[in-house]
């Protein structure tokens, strides 16, 4: 069956097209998405007649001089043919008709529409309509039974149905197709065709095959397929004789089958491989016209089917594969595949010349850019959920509901003491939220009419206006927001970060280097993560900035890359409760900023290690360093928790990914470095003027030293002396002494010798550093002393003296040594407690187990004893500091509880101090006019120079020694403490006052010191402020005292 493929020609603008012949076969009629119907006399017709029938034409049918078209105005129109005059409207749908067809006689038209209906309309009387309902998706195609009894239709709901027209009922239905929601998205147009004349078979294109169904039995009787056809068939058409079936596919393959033998008799490929969407057989059966989705018209000529019915049997065995090449006119492919044509291949239906493939396009297979992750709020679930968490943090939960009945926001606080729960109607459509102890911050994106809005519910405000709102400039949307202490920040789509005060004053704004991913606030710190550039192969390129407001405004991290795991994105960003930046990526790795290692990020946990299932995740809600907790919500099989049932928080431990953590050594190393890392925040907090938990700090240090000691012992056991020395280098001086003892007891004299060298070196180092340290660390220490002292009442000062050796950080050691020196200068004969302790240690452990000084290890173990043992009266105050949230020094909510305790004046003093620290300048003024009143807490400051007990000790040392001449130095101190405590409170007070006075007049050394300090103060304004406030602690007059008292009472 030889045929000739004529070159294609342009017919319509690109889009869906359809084609048919007129009754006589004289004209080819096409329609297209340009709304025209064109009447071609032949393919070579250079001036086809155009009839405009609408904006777009989806389908057309022609018979008896009546042209029926389905246009985009939802009507089915009639035009006369070939004149093209409008001849009325046949029917209407609620949306456009997708396919129309005539019955054989041309008395009826069937039309299928996107509104799921099929209508059968009489041509002579359009009011006679039959509607076939039953499809549940847009109709793809319709076809009439040539005997006018049935009608077949295909729909996007995946079914092909056969209807009895008269009864308007469905006879049968097959679920053959892939479901889709619209004709445009359907995989195939699925143009059905009913065999003409015999009307026995219904052809249904299903994927790459055509299935044949038998009339009446409705059983599948055959399948026509072609091995070369790899893409879905779009349209099928029967030859007028009913013996051949032509099919056009998505890939542009045209196939003709002999239905009888089910063999492929003709195969042609569209010259450009475009989708064939219209196919019509010439009434004579010798020609096929087809159109494609690019609007081109083509013709296959020379099919001699019906005329040579006798020869078909012969020719059916001979398959001719004509592969045609590119347009002859195309200069770019002169001879490429041109004469691939006409190779007869008898016996085999398949000749797969691989070279037919579409022309090669240059293929890029390098790294592909990753779509940048969208901005999000840490601790929120995705915005498309109807019920979602807009924020879950350590303060509370903000839930958003957006369903049919309700668009609302619920705010709930974990601690009901902060505020009661709130329910807001979300009329503005807020999508992002943040929550702090002071306020709720909400924001909505802008719409066409409304600008993006930022709303703040400042519930902690003391006036009656608890709410403010800000409109952003047109076209600028809030993408991320956060709350800090006393400020709010919003990052917008204009790459601007806007700062607001919590009361609604607009503050600074600055530009971001890239589109924001998320921001987080804590205290006076702001953490911003943004897109630094484009990531490739699944990676994100994120940058991070850490800014610090408050007194010294500075940028701590200047846009360094954020280290995410491979092929992951950021999933949570925030601060630990102690204020250390922290983030989690989608691989579940938690990373913490290591401030002591040049602001590097250290992985501290992999939450996925704790998951049971592969698709389980942990959804982070908070990180705490003390106690070491990762608070998160386990989500089974998802990344996000549902709002109901209410998810429960779980606590995960930190675990540094150190090597060999199954061994004892690895475990201890992990514990040690974790402890070091997670106690970094003490340094940060004290340097930025926050109150810190001194007890916790010393405990942590003890823990660390204890671990070092254990590791030391372990490596000694393993005969690793070099390693032991390495470990000893990490130890503080006191513990090195212990290590020496351990080494000498286990008869490792070489090790002991090295260690004692090391201890000596450390001691020298300390002394060498001393002047420097005084300069650098003193302000810091002052702050710490001050802040700590408020809860330590008078007796503790005694304990401070005695327990000083327990403060093992070098700063403290240095300080006490300095103390010691000053004391030595006064009375050289009396060595300081600390030095004596060390020497005592060095000699032997004879001093007995109850002496905490001698048995450092013991004291490290039972560290909690310290505050309670001696502070029986004020002991409970020490325990109040467990609250996980940061407490700035200035507002002191704790004083309420403290006021109930015995020492009313201690919190009072703390209050005063707090007030002073807020306004150091005022304090200084006051200090000049007011003489220092005697408040016990003040002594704590002075003890730096000399405390009451020390003075008393100096005076009474002789007496004690005389009474008990055989006492060791440490025991002398113990005895002294006992005696000092037996003194009446008044006596002690006099001593402490004397100590104060002495610091003023007796020691000229002190004066020199102060001079030094003042000259230093010029250099550093901050430290001066700290120092002066620390030194001149007590300038508050009685009325201020009273008012402070009143405040406590309330």
């Amino acid at each position: 069956m030889p045929c000739e493929r004529k070159p294609m020609r342009y017919g319509h603008s690109e889009g869906h097209t359809d084609v048919c012949f007129d009754d006589a076969g004289k004209y080819i009629v096409t329609c297209g998405s340009d709304g025209d119907v064109r009447i071609w006399e032949s393919l070579d017709d250079d001036d086809p007649k155009s009839i405009n029938v609408g904006e777009k034409v989806y389908s057309l049918a022609l018979k008896n001089g009546k042209l029926v078209t389905a246009a985009s105005n939802n009507t089915v129109q009639i035009h006369t043919f070939p004149e093209g005059d409008p001849d009325g409207i046949l029917t209407r749908f609620t949306t456009n008709a997708t396919h129309i067809t005539y019955n054989r006689s041309g008395s009826r038209v069937a039309a299928g529409s996107s509104d799921f209906m099929v209508k059968v309309v009489e041509m002579y009387d359009s009011s006679q309509q039959k509607t076939l309902r039953g499809h549940t998706a847009p109709i793809l195609s319709v076809t009439f039974d040539p005997k006018d009894e049935f009608l077949a239709s295909a729909s996007c709901d995946g079914s092909v149905a056969v209807w009895k027209i008269e009864e308007q009922t469905q006879v049968t239905s097959w679920p053959l197709l892939q479901k889709s929601n619209d004709v445009i998205n359907a995989k195939s147009l699925c143009r059905l065709a009913w065999q003409p004349k015999a009307a026995k078979l219904l052809a249904v294109p299903v994927e790459t095959t055509v299935q044949l169904y038998q009339r009446d039995s409705w059983a599948q009787v055959g399948t026509l397929s072609d091995d070369l056809g790899t893409q879905a068939i779009n349209v099928v058409a029967w030859s007028p004789c009913g013996k051949f079936l032509a099919a056009g596919s998505i890939g542009g393959l045209l196939t003709v089958w002999d239905v009888e033998s089910k063999l492929c008799v003709e195969r042609q490929k569209h010259e450009k491989g475009y989708t064939v969407c219209g196919l019509a057989w010439h009434p004579s059966g010798g020609q096929i016209a087809y159109t494609d989705t690019e609007g081109c018209l083509g013709v296959l000529d020379g099919l001699s089917s019906s005329s040579s019915s006798s020869s078909t049997t012969a020719s059916s065995t001979t398959t001719k594969v004509s592969l045609w090449s590119y347009m002859k006119a195309s200069p770019s492919h002169p001879n490429g595949l041109d004469k691939f044509v006409d190779d007869d291949d008898a016996g085999s239906a398949i000749v797969p010349p691989a070279a037919v493939a579409a022309p090669l396009r240059p293929v890029y297979d390098g790294p592909m850019p990753t779509p940048p992750q969208k901005a999000f709020q840490p601790g929120s679930t995705p915005a498309h959920l109807m019920h979602r968490f807009m924020m879950w943090n350590s303060v509370g939960i903000v839930r958003g509901y957006n369903d049919d009945q309700d668009n609302a926001i619920d705010v709930e606080f974990h601690d009901t003491a902060v505020h009661h729960a709130m329910h807001l109607t979300n009329s503005l459509g807020h999508t992002v939220a943040d929550l702090s102890q002071e306020a709720v911050l909400l924001a909505c994106p802008g719409t066409d009419e409304l600008a993006s809005k930022l709303q703040c519910l400042h519930f902690s405000s003391w006036d009656t206006n608890k709410e403010w709102m800000v409109d952003l400039p047109k076209g600028e949307d809030v993408q991320a927001l956060c709350l800090g202490q006393g400020w709010a920040a919003a990052a917008t789509s204009a790459l601007i970060l806007r700062l607001f005060s919590i009361g609604g004053v607009q503050r600074e704004l600055f530009s971001l280097p890239g589109p924001v991913v998320c921001i987080a606030g804590h205290g006076e710190q702001l953490l911003v993560v943004y897109h630094r550039g484009t990531g490739f192969d699944g990676e994100q390129a994120l940058g991070v900035q850490l800014l610090q407001f408050g007194q010294k405004r500075r940028q701590v991290i200047h846009g360094e890359p954020l280290p995410l795991s491979r092929k992951s994105h950021l999933s949570w960003l925030g601060f630990t409760a102690e204020g250390t930046p922290c983030f989690i990526d989608s691989e579940g790795v938690v990373r913490l900023l290591n401030r002591s290692l040049g602001n590097m990020w250290t992985p501290v946990c992999n939450t996925r290690d704790n998951c049971k299932g592969k698709s389980d995740h942990y959804w982070m809600v908070g990180v705490h360093e003390n106690p070491q907790q990762l608070r998160c919500i386990p989500c089974k099989g998802s990344r996000y928790p549902p709002t109901l049932p209410r998810p429960a928080v779980a606590v995960l431990p930190f675990k540094l990914p150190l090597c060999q953590t199954t061994t004892e050594k690895g475990q201890m190393e992990e514990q040690y470095w974790r402890s070091v890392l997670l106690h970094n925040h003490y340094g940060f907090l004290s340097s930025s003027g926050y109150e810190i938990d001194e007890e916790g700090q010393s405990q942590a240090q003890k823990e660390q030293q204890e671990l070092l000691m254990k590791m030391f012992a372990l490596s000694c056991k393993l005969e690793r002396e070099f390693r032991s020395v390495e470990l000893a280098e990490l130890m503080t001086q006191n513990v090195v002494t212990l290590a020496i003892r351990y080494a000498s007891r286990s008869h490792r004299m070489a090790l002991a010798q090295r260690l004692s060298d090391l201890a000596l070196e450390k001691a020298n180092q300390l002394q060498g550093e001393e002047p420097q340290e005084e300069e650098e660390e003193e302000p810091l220490q002052y702050t710490r002393r001050n802040t700590g002292s408020h809860r330590q009442a008078q007796e503790e000062e005694v304990d401070e003296e005695q327990g000083q050796e327990e403060h093992m950080d070098e700063g403290d050691v240095a300080e006490s040594k300095r103390q010691g020196k000053s004391r030595e200068s006064l009375s050289i004969s009396s060595p300081t407690p600390l030095i004596s302790c060390i020497s005592g240690l060095g000699r032997s452990g004879s001093a007995g187990g109850q002496n905490r000084v001698t048995n450092v290890l013991d004291s490290m173990m039972s560290s909690s004893k310290k505050p309670t043992a001696l502070l029986s009266s004020s002991g409970s105050t020490g325990k109040l500091n467990k609250t996980p949230f940061l407490k700035p020094l200035a507002p002191r909510p704790k004083t309420k509880t403290q006021s109930t305790l015995l020492h009313m004046n201690a919190p009072k003093a703390a209050n005063k101090k707090a007030a002073e620290e807020r306004e150091p300048a005022v304090c200084k003024l006051k200090q000049t006019e007011a003489p220092p009143p005697a408040s016990p807490a003040e002594n704590v400051e002075n003890k730096k120079h000399k405390s009451g007990f020390q003075l008393w000790l100096e005076d009474n040392r002789r007496i004690i020694l005389a009474d008990n001449p055989d006492l060791e130095e440490t025991d002398v101190i113990k005895e002294a403490i006992g005696r000092f405590r037996t003194l009446s409170a008044d006596d002690r007070l006099t001593w402490t006052e004397r100590a104060k006075g002495q610091s003023g007049d007796v020691a000229d050394m002190k004066k020199r010191k102060r001079g030094e300090e003042e000259s230093r103060g010029d250099k550093n304004g901050q430290s001066e402020a700290d120092e002066t406030s620390a030194k001149k602690k007590k300038p508050v007059d009685t009325s201020a005292k009273l008012s402070a008292f009143a405040f406590n009472k309330n």
Binding site: H414, A417, L644, K882, P884
Partner: protein, 187 residues
């Protein structure tokens, strides 16, 4: 033993609560509790949980077994087996009653759980009666019943003991000569 005493014992069981207040560790004779952090689950005895709940200071997290699916499983198993099956908690009945009465708003599907636990209880009590019946009718000297909870023993104890006493008296009062026939009749 009074049922209220058994309930008192059950109140020592530990449940998880989510407090909405902040409090440091509290030191009690029975052990230390806390620290209480708002929003963070913490284990406390039932009596404290209920007390806090009544003061609206916390939400109670229902025990793991207090879940419709798990209870349905247990119920089916209990119905299938002739012997007593292990119960999820030695105080399941008391805990269900206490928690559902005081904190039903914190327990999803509270009504279903109540019905399920009641079903389990009924099944077990029926078994208990049945075994008591066969114990007496076969005049056994001893019997072994595993997996019984205190509350279940308690419901049957006084009645069973009194009955046995009574029957013993009746039997011992009978004349030895006629006892055989009469006793048999009695049974």
């Amino acid at each position: 033993m009074d049922p209220s005493e058994v309930e008192f014992l059950a109140e020592k069981e530990v449940v998880k609560i989510i407090p909405n207040f902040s409090l440091d560790k509290i030191y009690l004779i029975g052990g230390d509790l806390g620290p209480f952090n708002p929003g963070l689950p913490v284990d406390v005895p039932v009596w404290l949980a209920l007390n806090l709940k009544q003061r609206q200071k916390c939400r109670i997290v229902p025990p793991e077994w207090m879940d419709v699916e798990k209870l349905e499983e247990i119920r089916e198993l209990e119905r299938k087996e002739d012997t007593f099956t292990p119960v999820p908690s030695p105080y399941y009945m008391e805990l269900t009653k206490l928690l559902l009465n005081h904190a039903s708003d914190n327990i999803p599907k509270a009504d279903e759980i109540r019905t399920l636990v009641k079903d389990i209880w009924d099944t077990r009590i029926a078994k208990l009666r049945l075994s008591a019946d066969s114990f007496i009718s076969q005049q056994e000297a001893h019997a072994k019943l595993d997996n019984l909870t205190l509350m279940e023993i308690n419901t049957t104890r006084s009645f069973l003991l009194d009955t046995l006493n009574c029957m013993y008296k009746l039997r011992s009062n009978l004349q030895p000569g006629s006892s055989g026939g009469k006793a048999q009749d009695h049974q």
